[in-house]
């Protein structure tokens, strides 16, 4: 009987020393492991995959050919054809910024900017209402224009947006767009001056 009492006491003492039930310890362990795995994967760029340069190169090569086609059409005065080529590029399966990085967004802005510039300079060709052109600008800028690095193509697109807003009589919005484009160009100029240095 003493042995049994001692065993019971020992069991109770062990129970008092245990802080967490086993199922809780296991759950916390799993959670901690999952969090650490997530952090590790995120830091390794696995959660948000790094941009794929081959996607950029492939897209750039495709667009270079198309831009040259547009160059030739413009030289020959076939502006409708040039606009048509650029319009067809809107239907491209544009890679996202997550896949191709800032470069693919900049390439997209270049194409759209060129298209809209041609349309604005030649409104009689395949005339489109201002709202439709504005919608094209918004389509081009997308949701990531603010996130990419400052560049001349985005600045041009933003300035074109200002022009379209001005044509619609939305002067305040137009001024905002112009100022934004100016800020970008100013930043680019500062970089360029710093780089040009003692140019001949």
């Amino acid at each position: 009987m003493n042995v049994q009492a001692d065993a019971t006491l020992a069991r109770r003492a062990r129970g008092r020393g245990r802080t967490l039930p086993s199922w809780l310890t296991l759950t916390l362990g799993v959670l901690l492991g999952a969090v650490l795995m997530f952090v590790g994967l995120a830091r390794a760029g696995r959660i948000a995959p790094a941009p794929q340069p081959e996607v950029v190169v492939s897209l750039a090569q495709t667009l270079e050919v198309e831009h040259r086609r547009v160059d030739l059409l413009v030289e020959r005065g076939e502006l409708a054809g040039a606009i048509s080529v650029l319009e067809s590029l809107r239907g491209l399966d544009w890679p996202t910024r997550e896949v191709g990085g800032d470069e693919v967004v900049i390439l997209r802005h270049d194409v759209y900017g060129r298209l809209l510039r041609l349309r604005l300079d030649n409104p009689e060709i395949d005339a489109k209402p201002g709202d439709a052109l504005l919608a094209t600008v918004e389509e081009a800028l997308g949701g990531d224009a603010e996130e990419i690095r400052t560049n001349a193509f985005t600045a041009r697109l933003v300035a074109i947006r200002g022009e379209l807003l001005e044509k619609q009589g939305r002067d305040d919005d137009a001024l905002t767009a112009y100022e934004r484009a100016l800020d970008m160009n100013r930043a680019l100029l500062q970089q360029a001056i710093a780089g040009a240095g003692g140019a001949p």
Partner: protein, 187 residues
């Protein structure tokens, strides 16, 4: 013990991913870097190798956004044009030595030009082209900035009493003056 195992499992993918990222030559160079800097780094690496008598075969540079811009009817031109051209010359200049990099004592070296003088000429030509390209970029930006100034001051004319428009016009005018001076200075 279970906890320790889970911790280890959690850390392993991160470490593996990092090492893979380190091994990939493009991951480090591409991240936030522009194509011109990449080409410069490649050219400098090539020079170093040639200086050590390691022969680097010619290669065709990959087309990149940096090479776009050429004959456009209007719009901005990337300043990396000169860099791309310079790199094209780097790659297209025929190397006098035909032996590959791994050739050893049998490789002919007698007719090999002195690496320093030709390399330095190439570097100075490349630098000159880069300066010209950067100046072109400055002048392209001057056109864009002064065009914006026209638009903004046109709006300010219609909103004569609005300080926001007047201030914007004043700022744009200053920017246009600075850009014009910068373009004149480097041209």
């Amino acid at each position: 013990m279970t906890l320790g195992l889970l911790v280890t499992l959690g850390l392993l993918p991160g470490c593996a991913g990092k090492s893979m990222a380190r091994e990939s030559p493009l991951a480090n160079t591409y991240e936030g870097d522009d194509i011109l800097a990449l080409e410069r780094a490649l050219a400098e690496g090539e020079q170093e190798l040639r200086a050590r008598d390691i022969h680097v075969p010619s290669a065709t540079p990959a087309t990149s956004p940096a090479d776009l811009g050429g004959a456009r009817d209007s719009g901005p031109v990337l300043s990396e044009d000169a860099g791309g051209d310079a790199i094209e010359e780097e790659y297209s200049t025929p190397e006098p030595e035909a032996a590959p990099a791994t050739a050893t004592a049998d490789a002919p070296v007698a007719d090999e030009p002195a690496p320093d003088s030709s390399d330095s000429k190439r570097v100075s030509r490349r630098d000159q082209r880069q300066s010209q390209a950067q100046c072109r970029q400055v002048c392209d930006l001057q056109v864009s900035i002064c065009d914006l100034k026209s638009h903004i001051c046109g709006l300010a004319f219609r909103h004569a009493g609005d300080p926001r428009y007047q201030n914007a016009c004043s700022r744009a005018s200053t920017d246009c003056e600075i850009a014009t001076r910068a373009c004149d200075d480097c041209s």
